[in-house]
Symmetry: D2
C-alpha cells in the first residue's frame, strides 16, 4: 500500500462525503538528544510522540484541549491505528514541521494525516486513526457534539 | 487495509517464495509507570519501543546482535514502515508477550509481524518493515550474507 | 555532598535506628536503541526509568506490587528527591545490573540507594527519596502497615 | 542538603570567584500525554528531559548549539551529577517554565541551576553538573575557548 496514495483527499472524498480536508495545522519542533538514538538519528517511535504533540496543539487551536475533554465530558481519544512511512532521517538540532489535517470524522472516531517535513524534504507520512472512548470504562463514546462541530469546521 | 489479513502467510507466500514463516520468537515484559500515560494505559508510542526490544532479542537469539552489526559490518537496521492496530489497552503491572516472526527477507530489507498478547487476549498487531543501511552514510546496504542466512533459517 | 558517602550505612544507622540495610535486590536489563542517544551512550534520564523498573520489581519481590497499592489502599509512591552521580557510560547491547536497597523508612516515606553496575564497573550511584501519597489527592499518606512491615524485613 | 540553599549564589560566589550568576534563560513547554504516567502526573524522569531541552535552547541562545559542538570541535556535554527536588506535580495540558542559569564554569565542566515553575508555584529545583568530553573517546576535554567565553558572559 502506498501511504501517500491512501492519503489522497479526492479518492477518500468519494467514499466519505464528510471527508473534505479543511484546515491544515502546522507544528514545529526541534530535535534534542532525548529524541535521538545511537544510530545518530531520531528514534523511530518518537515520531508518534511528536505527532501526538501536533495533534494536541491542533485540538487546542480548534478549542478542544485534551484535559478539558476528560474533565468536562469524561471522554478521551485513544489511538486505534497507525500507518507510518519513514522517508528520511532527522538529526540532532534540526527543526522539523508537522502538518496535520483531519481526513475523516465519524461519530466516535477520527482519521488524520500528519506529514513530517524538514524544509521542503518530506521525512515521514503518517495516517492515524483515533477513537473517542469513555475515560473510565474505555468503551467507545460519541464525540461531544460541540466538539465534533469544531473538528469539522 | 486489514492488517491481520496482510499478515496471512499464505497470501504472501505466493508472491514471495522465500516468505515461509519459520520460527516465532517470544518476548515477555512487564508494564511499569514509565510505560503508561495519564489515560491509565500504556502510551501508544511505547508499543514500538517494546517491539524493538523484542526484535533485538530475536536477532540476538539468531546470533546477530545489533551492536555487532555496526562494529563488524558497519550496517544497521532502520525502520521504514509501521502498520499497527491497537485492540485492547495494557495497564500497569501487567505482563505482556510479543510474538515476532519474519515474514519476508530481501537483499537489504526485512518484514516482520509482531503480535502483542496478554494471556490469550490479542492487544495489538504490528507489521514492521526494516531496511539495512550503511551506519555512516545511511544508504541502503546488503545484509551481510552470514546474517541473511541466519534470518532465513 | 558526596553521594557515596551519604549512602554509607553506618553513619545513617547512627542517626536512624531503623536504617540498617537489609536485603539487596538485584535487577538486570539490556540496553536497546531506545535507551541510547546520538552521543552513542545511554541517555542520562533513562537511568531514572531503569531505577523505577528495579524498584517495581523489588516491591513485587517484597509482596507489595505497585498496582495493588493503588487498587487496595488508594496510595502510591511519588519521587521526592533524586541524587545521581554518573561515573561511566553504558552502551548499546550491554547488560547492566541495578542493586537496590532500602536505606530508611519513615511513616510516609522511603529512601533507597540504587547502584548501577556493568560487571564489576560502577556506572552510577543513585539515592532516591520516595513519598507515599493518596492516589486521588496527592497528599502525604501513611504507608499501609502490612507493607511497611514488609519493607522493613 | 537543602537544594535551594545550595543554589544560593552568594555562598557559592565566595568560594568560586567566577560563579556570579549572570543571565537567566527561560524556556516554556506544555505537558502532553507522552509526559505523564498512570499516576496522572508528569513521570519523574521527564523533568531531566525537559531540563535538557531548556539547556539546549540556552546554549543555542548563547551561540553554542549542541550539534555544532560535535561537528566543529569534536566535543559534547555529558551529565555527571543530578540533584533534583520535586515539590509539586505537573499535569496534562499545563504550561511549565524552566529558568536556567549557569552557577559555575570550570575548564571542562559546568554547573547549572534549573528551576521549574507553573506560574508562581515552584514545581522542582534541579542542580546539574555537566562535563565536556571528547565525542569519540568520552574523555574529559577542555571547553573550546570561544564557547567558554560565551558561557561566562
Amino acid at each position: 500500500m502506498d501511504a501517500r496514495r491512501s492519503l489522497a483527499p479526492k479518492r477518500r472524498a468519494i467514499r466519505h462525503p464528510n471527508a473534505i480536508p479543511r484546515m491544515t495545522h502546522t507544528y514545529e519542533l526541534r530535535i534534542y538528544y532525548q529524541d535521538t538514538d545511537a544510530g545518530g538519528i531520531v528514534y523511530h517511535a518518537n515520531y508518534l510522540a511528536f505527532a501526538e504533540r501536533a495533534r494536541a496543539e491542533m485540538m487546542r487551536a480548534l478549542g478542544a484541549p485534551h484535559a478539558q475533554m476528560v474533565t468536562e465530558f469524561g471522554v478521551m481519544f485513544v489511538v486505534r491505528r497507525i500507518n507510518l512511512h519513514y522517508q528520511r532521517p532527522a538529526r540532532l538540532d534540526e527543526v522539523i514541521r508537522i502538518e496535520s489535517r483531519i481526513l475523516e470524522t465519524g461519530g466516535a472516531s477520527l482519521i488524520l494525516a500528519q506529514n513530517f517535513w524538514r524544509g521542503s524534504d518530506s521525512l515521514a507520512v503518517l495516517e492515524v486513526g483515533l477513537a473517542c472512548v469513555n475515560a473510565q470504562t474505555g468503551r467507545a463514546a460519541r464525540l461531544p457534539a460541540a466538539w465534533a462541530a469544531r473538528l469539522m469546521q
